[in-house]
Amino acid sequence: MSATVSQIDEVKTTPWAGGRSPFAVEYGKMMMWFFLLSDAFTFSSLLIAYGALRFSSTSWPSAELVFQSVPGLLDNGAPLVFVGIMTFILILSSVTMVLAVEAGHRNARKEVAGWMVATIIGGFMFLGCQALEWTHLHHEGFWWGSIPHMEELKHLFKGGDEATFGVYAQQFANLFFTITGFHGFHVFSGVIINIIILINVLAGTYQKRGSYLMVEKVGLYWHFVDLVWVFVFTFFYLV
């Protein structure tokens, strides 16, 4: 008696046949990706709202006139220099994060810890710079719902009808603080999460687990923060 297996009873082994992840990623990592997708929508909505308000305006504060100080060094005359430093810090902290992930693949605990420390320092430096930037603008009179006096405001525009400056400067201030604030909040939570992961790395949690996948997951979040900054930088400081 030979048992013949009909074709329909054969166990399928294709990626979508069940029993394994068709995307070949661990659950938590996939969920991090989908969280970041939803976060990308949130940031896009904010930036597109900014774009819509700016497109419909007849004048707008000029980036190189508003952002031309290096806090602690120069009060004016250095357009975009400070934000350039901030961008450099964030890209660099993204690099140290990938290096932490790379060290994790080799199960090199000390190297992972070292690169995580570097990433956290980068995060704090960025937050410090942002605090200085906010303080500077606040001193000039910008805040949610407040703008500098007309005399100072005139120097921040490159033409346009003076009667409209107030409205557009206020839109600019609200959008700037909301969007960079929301981004800064992400950087802040990223730094906190990185610190938690660093503690686990030092405690040997991932060494025992045999995998540094958690470093990879928070790495995704950290790179996303960098990714958002690339867009914020372009649309607030360059365009």
Binding site: P15, S21, P22, F23, A24, V25, E26, M30, W33, F34, L37, A40, F41, S44, S45, I48, A49, G51, A52, L53, R54, F55, S56, S57, T58, E64, P79, L80, G84, T87, F88, I91, L92, S94, V95, M97, V98, L99, V101, E102, G104, H105, R209, G210, S211, Y212, L213, E216, G219, L220, H223, F224, D226, L227, V230, F231, T234, Y237, L238, V239
Partner: protein
Amino acid sequence: MSSEHTEAHGEHASMTKGKIVKVFVILLLITVVEFIIALWAVPHAGLPVNYANPIYIFLTLLKAYYIVAFFMHLKFEKLGLIYSLVVPVLFIIGLILALTNESHHWLDLRF
């Protein structure tokens, strides 16, 4: 737990230190080009803003590609995962088109 074990190894070995440094240099160079346009080409060499802005946006998207593809490692994931993340992002284009169109209408209303 065990699945985490097996997946962490093997398939993710594609980002070596050399490649990381290479991507970093590319990102840095793109940023430098953006600064050259913003601080020299537009104010001193007479590049019209209408030309500079699309260049900025192109360079930004290029940087975004390098961050997502290499730092976030998406280029080396399964095609299914790539599509499930990239295709929804395309909906953003719809919102951009809708709101730029709408904002021109707002501008018209003001005059």
